[in-house]
């Protein structure tokens, strides 16, 4: 079944990680709908939220390939975990004295904010799920959108521990000890 998937990943905060992830998705011919990256509560780690639209099996396959990357510590498809997914958009709309009032009404209905006002335009900031943001943009289109920018989706699964939760008493480590090289003999049938 082809549908939207939300993949969340804990990755090491190092140069080149985004490139590796994008490269793996590109190789499997995925079109990335959105990707959002930011630091988390643990130093040197980032959390990525990747939205792709594709077949379930194909997404699971690429998830495993992404998990194989050394810098990817954990990756999970949380689509089925009923996640809280939000994005933010900033929209600069044309506003004349005659339309300003109407725009403010729309903004209020959507519980969005006006963060900048100038003589002929407003900057509106809206947070919500993708559908809400899309609807607001559609409504504002009539007034004339000058510029806009969207963050892409970020998401957390509801309830207690999620698939990426790191328990405090279990630090993320995989210690590899040095083993002195030794000779090995192959069997002689």
């Amino acid at each position: 079944m082809i549908r939207k998937h939300i993949l969340v990943a804990l990755v090491e905060d190092r140069p080149g990680v985004l490139n590796r992830i994008a490269s793996t998705l590109r190789r499997r011919n995925f079109n990335i709908e959105s990707i959002a990256v930011g630091h988390i509560e643990i130093p040197n780690l980032s959390r990525m939220t990747i939205v792709v639209e594709a077949d379930d099996n194909k997404v699971e396959q690429v998830r495993k390939q992404l998990d194989r990357l050394i810098e990817v510590i954990r990756i999970s498809d949380i689509t089925n975990d009923n996640p809280v997914a939000r994005e933010m958009a900033m929209i600069k709309v044309k506003a004349t004295p005659s339309t300003r009032g109407e725009i403010i009404q729309v903004v209020d209905i959507f519980r969005a904010n006006i963060v900048d006002v100038s003589a002929d335009s407003l900057i509106i900031v809206v947070t919500g799920d993708e559908e809400k943001v899309d609807t607001l943009i559609e409504l504002l289109r009539g007034f004339g959108i000058r510029e806009m920018s969207r963050t892409g989706t970020i998401a957390l699964p509801r309830g207690g521990a999620g698939p990426l939760t790191i328990e405090e008493n279990k630090p993320l480590r995989h210690v590899v000890e040095h083993v002195a090289p030794e000779e090995e003999n192959l069997p002689n049938w």
Partner: protein, 564 residues
């Protein structure tokens, strides 16, 4: 102790048991080449082209199971490694490629001989890393060598700028490194193993398909125990050749496009496929939708990303093969499968794929058989890519693990000659035969100079048919003999060898084959034999593209069975 980056690199390599580096110097590597003489434990072999270094490291790694190390300078040196790295990546070969890089203050400025090699090699390495601080070099080398050989092995590239090699820092060998993002699963899930054992115990027509993973995991005796205990026929993949002795009564050859007809039929007619350390490559499965149509499939692999990639499996088990089979074998009951094995033996007699037909001229299959007879099968066969590669797989019998070295996944022409150097360096006491076609041989012919300089005792057989044979075969069988771009104008290969100071022989008649092989074996140092073989010989069986495993073409001529 304060050491330079170059010294730290060498110290770490020595501590990790690296014995040999196949390399080619260049501007940014000079600090390292100034340091290498202080570490005589690290044998440096100067190749003639960096591609040769990568393939040689690959051949070394396949024969020894250890990480092969190659070294190249920045820019063109690094890009010349790319084909060799990709070859190792597709065949899961542990390799460390070290490239020099322009000094950190030049990076990104299109400096002389600068190339973004970590960017270029992202899709063809297991991991790569640009070292930006001398203090992290030791950790980087340890991590690289660990990642290269752990879990599913693969090539790792370390890109080291010149100023990092020259920088000085306190050297502490990091006994422990922390890789939170890489924990290969080594033990199979007990419930999955139990399910698999139950399927095996109740199967009537089971077949094992063993791949290169068995070689990597060194699970030879475990595989043998499984097969013998439950009397399961063993078919290997092309790269799995040697992981199960081919002289064993349960060995049914290898499957695939040019695999034995009975191996393909065994898989097709089975009711249970036990796929061990193989990845259902398209050359092995034929049309994947009708691969083993009536069989349940157990897939054992250390890489979870291989499970379900090419086909849906019934029981996946992720982990190290050796560990999994050790647990699983305890749950396997004794079976005899007499009816099934009898059926397969009949198939084997109807499809005698390993015969050499009676022919006046010099057949390549005949030459391989003669090499097998003279060596008694006790040799490492390194092949290039093409028709001769398939014949080498078919007509030589492999009873020892890792005794066939060949580029399976990427199919890299030019692999054979340099890989045979690596094989010989890795196994100096073994007889090494390099089997090449006239096309592939010329792709890396310059490495004859390396062999001569290092006096490597390698027997090189060039199968000269004057064509790019495999492509010609496809043009003949699929493109109605419209030959184009496949006829070769060749040099005098014996003279080429002589020009490098290597002894050579040309063989045109059957009766001269054996003496030439014997002469080559008796000779110390490299020896080239050019066999002028039948020009339009085809490889059979042949599963045409888009066909199932059992729709293979067989040799359309009367045959005489020399095998029996």
């Amino acid at each position: 102790m304060i050491k330079t980056g170059a010294e730290i690199l060498c110290e770490c390599l020595v501590k990790e048991g690296v014995e040999v580096i196949f390399g080619f110097p260049g501007g940014v590597l000079l600090p390292l080449y100034d340091t290498l003489p202080k570490y005589p434990q690290l044998r440096h072999i100067l190749v003639r082209h960096e591609q040769g270094a990568a393939h040689a490291a690959d051949g070394y790694a396949r024969v020894t199971g250890k990480v092969g190390v190659c070294l190249a300078t920045s820019g063109p040196g690094a890009t010349n490694l790319v084909t060799g790295i990709a070859t190792a990546h597709l065949d899961s070969v542990p390799m460390l490629a070290i490239t020099g890089q322009v000094p950190t203050f030049f990076i990104g400025k299109d400096a002389f001989q600068e190339v973004d090699i970590t960017g270029i090699t992202v899709p063809i390495t297991k991991y790569n890393h640009l070292v930006l601080d001398t203090a992290e070099l030791a950790t980087a080398v340890r991590e690289a060598l660990y990642i290269a050989q752990a879990g599913r092995p693969g090539p790792v590239l370390l890109d080291i700028p010149r100023d990092i090699l020259q920088g000085r820092t306190e050297f502490i060998f990091p006994d422990k490194v922390d890789l939170p993002g890489y924990k290969p699963r080594l033990y199979g899930h007990p419930a999955q193993i139990k399910k698999a054992a139950e399927l095996i115990n109740s199967a009537e027509r089971p077949v094992i398909i063993a791949g290169r993973g068995v070689n990597i995991s060194k699970a030879f005796s475990e595989l043998k125990e499984l097969a013998e205990k439950s009397q399961i026929p063993v078919v290997t993949t092309f790269l799995g050749i040697g992981c199960f002795p081919e002289s064993h009564v349960l060995s049914y050859g290898w499957l695939g496009m040019h695999g034995m007809g009975y191996a393909n039929k065994a898989v097709y007619n089975s009711d249970l496929v036990i796929a061990i350390g193989m990845r259902f490559d398209d050359r092995a499965t034929g049309v994947v939708s009708s691969f083993a149509p009536n069989a349940r499939i157990i897939h054992i692999d250390i890489d979870p990303a291989e499970i379900g990639k090419n086909l849906t499996v019934d029981v996946p088990i992720v982990g190290d093969i050796k560990n999994i089979l050790q647990v699983m074998n305890k749950q396997i009951v004794k079976r005899d499968h007499i009816a099934w094995l009898t059926q397969l033996d009949e198939l084997r007699s109807i499809h005698p794929a390993l015969e050499v037909r009676d022919h006046e001229g010099l057949l390549p299959q005949y030459v391989i058989k003669q090499i097998h007879e003279v060596t008694g099968g006790d040799a490492i066969i390194v092949t290039d890519v093409g028709q001769h590669q398939m014949w080498a797989g078919q007509y030589f019998f492999y009873d020892k693990p890792n005794s066939l070295v060949s580029s399976g996944g990427l199919g890299t022409m030019g692999f054979g000659l340099p890989a045979s150097m690596g094989a010989k360096v890795g196994a100096p006491d073994e007889t090494v035969w390099c089997i090449c076609g006239d096309g592939g041989f010329q792709m890396t012919v310059q490495e004859l100079a390396t062999m001569a300089q290092e006096d490597l005792d390698i027997n090189i057989a060039i199968f000269n048919n004057g064509w790019l044979g495999m492509v010609r075969q496809w043009q003949e069988l699929i493109y109605e003999k419209r030959y184009f771009g496949t006829k070769l104008y060749n040099p005098d290969f014996v003279k080429i060898a002589e020009a490098y100071g290597i002894k050579g022989r040309r063989v045109t008649r059957k009766i001269d084959v054996r003496p030439a092989i014997e002469e080559s074996m008796a000779h110390r140092g490299p020896f080239v034999i050019e066999f002028l073989v039948e020009p339009e010989e085809n490889v059979y069986p042949f599963v045409p593209p888009g066909k199932t495993l059992v729709e293979f073409l067989e040799m359309p001529r009367p045959t005489v069975n020399l095998k029996k």
